[in-house]
Symmetry: C2
Subunit: 268 residues, 2 copies
Amino acid sequence: MCELLAMSANTPTDLCFSFTGLTRRGGDTGPHRDGWGVAFYEGKGVRAFHESGASASSRIAEVVQTHPIKSEVAICHIRQANVGSICLANTHPFIRELWGQYWTFAHNGQLEGFRAEPGFYEPVGDTDSEQVFCDLLNRMRAQGQRSDSLEGLSERLVKLSEGYARRGVFNLLLSNGDWLFTFCTTKMASITRRAPFGPARLKDADVIVDFEAETTANDIVSVIVTEPLTTDERWELYQPGEWRLWRKGEVMASGVVGVPDYPRPPTD
Amino acid sequence: MCELLAMSANTPTDLCFSFTGLTRRGGDTGPHRDGWGVAFYEGKGVRAFHESGASASSRIAEVVQTHPIKSEVAICHIRQANVGSICLANTHPFIRELWGQYWTFAHNGQLEGFRAEPGFYEPVGDTDSEQVFCDLLNRMRAQGQRSDSLEGLSERLVKLSEGYARRGVFNLLLSNGDWLFTFCTTKMASITRRAPFGPARLKDADVIVDFEAETTANDIVSVIVTEPLTTDERWELYQPGEWRLWRKGEVMASGVVGVPDYPRPPTD
């Protein structure tokens, strides 16, 4: 399996604190040592870092932990391979251009034997996740329009996600740099930090941050993960079948759809 | 304008030496301070580093200079903006998926007012270069086939390049991770290093490498640039209109087509 992390903020914000916590789970406090990747949007552009090794011992991950890259949307993934070999081509997040925007996708779960309907987008690697991403993009392109409202768009994404979730565990992060769509079948949680800010302590590293000192009073920064990253904050758990569409740190729309009752992982 | 660097090798090889020379020109020994990017293929996967600032003073560029990332094909670009604002979305190399392969593109020159024929691929940023890349991919998809031979493929790429070169200066690096296609209208040079290897000294930094100590007797590593990077080696200059298709460090095919007589930059 793997773990996911995303951020949605109303001002360019770095991900150093959360990224430090998550990447420890890539071979140190967790077993997700089969690759890691992170994508940061800057305006319409996106820059990504990918490696097929363990994040906990990566020099490049260390730079990303300590070098503040400021972004309003970021998506991160650490991998423990199940489907697909351990290689760069299989390392999330995956990125493709649709309608002149870079779409970024990271997935936790497994959709055994899933194959994308033939279409324009094709997987490069051999994971079920990339198959789903290509399928989703092919369907969005065929059924959707670039001029769709945020409401129309999320309706489509929910419908597609509901379908994928019938095929297997489908915890999803998806963004075009403007909005961030999240879907939970078994595990997802979020936290929204806004004034008054307080301190927070990572679960996986001996790191405390005082957000008060790092932010302004207007900042709204939300973090979405498959497993909470801090021990002293209150994370909002998603229900199975719950989706939330984030923009500028806030939930713009949300809902719950029916999904099969997959075993949920134990939490500590 | 900008500068280009590519590598084609028959064994995974790092780009540290050449990358160190080139990136000095991004704000130190050269004026190309408006962004830099590099893409490294690993198997079918590609990982890229992009920044919209100067490479000479970048902490991430420094890591790429000193942390050996091994690749058989790499493409690098440093930017001095002419068309398009200075931002991440305008930073080469650009990457898109075609036929289940990541295609990577970097361009030196200017095709004023160029607009891609409408098609599947669309630019995200506002450079003429990305317009050309999308146009090229749309035409390859419409006219070409994934099963095309290397010969058929290069014929198509030469024809397209010839057309673009009629619209403006078009020095090109393009790869799908297997082959590397290069096209020169005004400036390009290459060097192929193979046994017996010797030392080389960078023009832009006080760095000497002894390739003998870094290689095995079977290694073949070619470097292609818009401006030679070393002072004590013999670089093979391309003629205007010359193209070379590289694979595993060797020229698989080459030729010369007619291009307009654009002013060639002075060389030292």
